[in-house]
């Protein structure tokens, strides 16, 4: 059995001690645990981010398995509980808060209160816009990372990270809408999720350029 010391030594060897401490001290809220959120969470757990606030009202469905980080035997479970289980198998030292609720403007402040960085990882355009507007207007101390446009088999090279404000970053190609009848493909959604996770780690390190 690997010890906690060995686990963190391996991370420090790759990220550097100073960066690892910054990752460990961070609290990140992930709003939506689908193709974006579940993949972002996995990246952050592997990087040794200290605490994740996982928010999703939904249950794991068989139609999620093609791109989301859940297993066949987890169909029917709350996404929060299933993802927590999977994350702890990767990194048993991470702190995880689960909120199995539907996010709205009334409960949002409380849900993300303790987060330094908020990851928008919803599926619906209206929910994305609501969260981004809310955080930019009401939580000026927090970073907000969002994604728009990742559906289909288009080139993965079209997915980019843009910095749109002091604490606002947007990932994606900006246009590929799932409602145009193009499906979500694991690899392209994962590229977008990795963009969100990667800019998050860069921000924690103090690198603010996308």
């Amino acid at each position: 059995m690997v010890s906690k010391e060995e686990f963190f030594e391996a991370l420090i060897a790759r990220h550097g001690k100073e960066n690892q401490e910054k990752f460990l001290n961070a609290t990140v809220a992930i709003c939506g645990l689908g193709g974006l959120g579940s993949n972002i969470a996995i990246c952050l757990a592997r990087a040794g981010v200290g605490r994740l606030i996982l928010i999703d009202f939904d249950k794991v469905d068989v139609t999620n398995l093609h791109r989301q980080q859940y297993r066949f035997n987890q169909v029917g479970m709350n996404k929060t509980d299933a993802l927590k289980e999977n994350l702890l198998e990767i990194n048993p030292f991470i702190g995880i808060d689960c909120h199995t609720v539907k996010v709205d403007e009334a409960n949002l402040a409380k849900l993300i209160k303790e987060a330094d960085i908020v990851c928008e990882a919803f599926d619906k355009a209206e929910c994305k816009a609501m969260l981004v507007n809310y955080v930019l207007e009401n939580c000026r101390d927090k970073y907000i990372l969002s994604s728009s446009g990742m559906a289909g088999f288009g080139s993965a090279n079209e997915i980019r990270t843009k910095k749109l404000g002091e604490k606002f970053y947007l990932c994606g190609d900006g246009v590929s809408d799932v409602n145009d009848g193009i499906g979500l493909i694991a690899s392209r959604v994962m590229v977008c999720a990795a963009h969100e996770a990667h800019i998050l780690l860069r921000i924690l390190m103090g690198e603010v350029t996308p």
């Binding site: 939506g32 689908g34 193709g35 974006l36 959120g37 990882a121 919803f122 599926d123 619906k124 355009a125 209206e126 994305k128 816009a129 981004v132 507007n133 930019l136 207007e137 969002s146 994604s147 728009s148 446009g149 990742m150 559906a151 749109l164 404000g165 002091e166 606002f168 947007l170 900006g174 246009v175 590929s176 809408d177 799932v178 409602n179 979500l184 959604v189």
Partner: protein, 64 residues
């Protein structure tokens, strides 16, 4: 000139609400930044654009 999503436009004097209507944006799926600051939806009608303003209208699409 006003820079709207990277393009120079004759938009000085127009409001954000006017721009939203002119470009057919869906108010439910956008976030608008003026000179890198968010504009609250309730201020769209009273925010008048000036020369050299930089406007970014983020129009979210579905998928995640």
């Amino acid at each position: 000139m006003v820079l709207i999503n990277g393009k120079k436009e004759q938009a000085a004097g127009k409001t954000i609400a006017g721009i939203v209507e002119e470009y057919n944006y869906d108010i439910k799926t956008i976030a608008v930044e003026l000179n890198e600051e968010i504009v609250s939806k309730c201020d769209y009608g009273k925010t008048i654009l000036k020369e050299d303003d930089v406007v970014e209208v983020v129009s979210f699409v579905g998928g995640g």
